[in-house]
């Protein structure tokens, strides 16, 4: 899922400093699961904003909503009937949701309430970790199900490098060496021949180097 975390409250307060009536909109997708932008966080942020503004003798009216997803037009459409009553939207969706909301409602400013960090997993309650960088050309079948792009600090395709020591990465002793993980996993799978295979230079045009990406499925397109 997409992992995010709440922005510092002072940053959000500065965005809405001149607003008197705003809409705080959460998303029931990824950001609910990582406790950054679901209904609970909408309530907490709204309450915090009201307290801060009340304290400054500058009260604000807030409507709280949480949409099923902010990355699909049909759910964004649900705000059509009331969005014009507000001066701004603070969206607690990921960067995609914030942008899609701004795209659909062009006459109202849409501000981000969270920082979008990475595509990752819930390691345990309250701990999330990066697993994928959406490079657009998956090689997990060659690397024991461990991504060298996301898990190696240098995104090496043929690792490890000289900075790997006792299974840890030179950038931080708490960061595991991605290529050590790959080696260990391939050994467990008795597939070490894959480790010896030289992975050719990657075509990064499927990643961000190819510019903004899109996928068109003619079989699904209306």
């Amino acid at each position: 899922m997409i992992i995010g975390e709440g922005k510092p409250i002072q940053e959000i307060l500065a965005m809405i400093a001149d607003k008197k009536k705003i809409l705080v909109v959460g998303c029931k997708g990824c950001v609910t699961v990582c406790s950054a932008g679901g209904q609970k966080e909408v309530e907490i942020l709204s309450s915090t904003i009201r307290l801060a503004r009340e304290k400054e003798d500058n009260p604000i009216e807030i409507r709280e909503e949480t949409l099923e997803r902010q990355c699909d037009p049909e759910y964004l459409e649900q705000m059509r009937s009331y969005i014009d009553d507000y001066e701004a939207v603070v969206s607690l969706a990921c960067g995609a949701g914030v942008q899609f909301t701004a795209e659909k409602y062009r006459r109202i400013p849409v501000y981000p309430g969270i920082n979008t960090n990475f595509i990752g997993v819930t390691v345990e309650q309250g701990v999330w970790s990066e697993r994928c960088q959406a490079c657009g050309s998956c090689i997990l079948h060659k690397t024991g199900g461990i991504c060298p792009i996301a898990r190696c600090s240098k995104s090496l395709l043929n690792g490890p490098c000289g900075g790997s020591s006792k299974g840890k990465c030179e950038i931080d002793p708490d960061v595991e060496c991605g290529w050590q993980l790959i080696y260990d996993r391939l050994r467990e799978l008795e597939s070490l021949e894959l480790f010896e295979e030289v992975v050719p230079i990657k075509d990064w045009s499927t990643g961000r180097d190819g510019g903004p990406r899109r996928i068109i499925r003619e079989d699904l397109k209306s």
Partner: protein
């Protein structure tokens, strides 16, 4: 509440929004929770709300968590007195003052 573990961040914030001067949670002794970790969760939520209050310039001391057993009536009275004294020293909350000003503009 059946357990302090049921107290959520928003419950504490709403109390401050309503204009209360202070909030304290009284949970069972740590290690004695019937639901195992309810009071530990409550403590973490209290810490989060304290940070939220500080981040917007409100005194985090207005919120406190205490742990004691149901049999400690005397300690409960002590805690109530301690908290009342602390809040009296802090004075009314800024939110309460603004609310009163709004209700009685004269």
């Amino acid at each position: 509440m059946p357990c302090t573990g049921k107290v959520d961040v928003i419950h504490m914030l709403r109390a401050f929004e309503a204009g209360v001067d202070g909030v304290y949670l009284v949970g069972c002794e740590e290690g004695n929770c019937h639901f195992l970790v309810g009071n530990l969760r409550a403590r973490k939520r209290v810490e989060r709300v304290k940070k939220i209050l500080s981040s917007i310039g409100l005194e985090s001391e207005r919120l406190q968590m205490y742990n004691l057993s149901a049999g400690e009536g005397t300690r409960f009275v002590e805690i109530a007195k301690e908290m009342t004294e602390k809040i009296k020293n802090l004075g009314p909350s800024a939110i309460k003052l603004k609310k009163e000003k709004l209700e009685n503009p004269a």
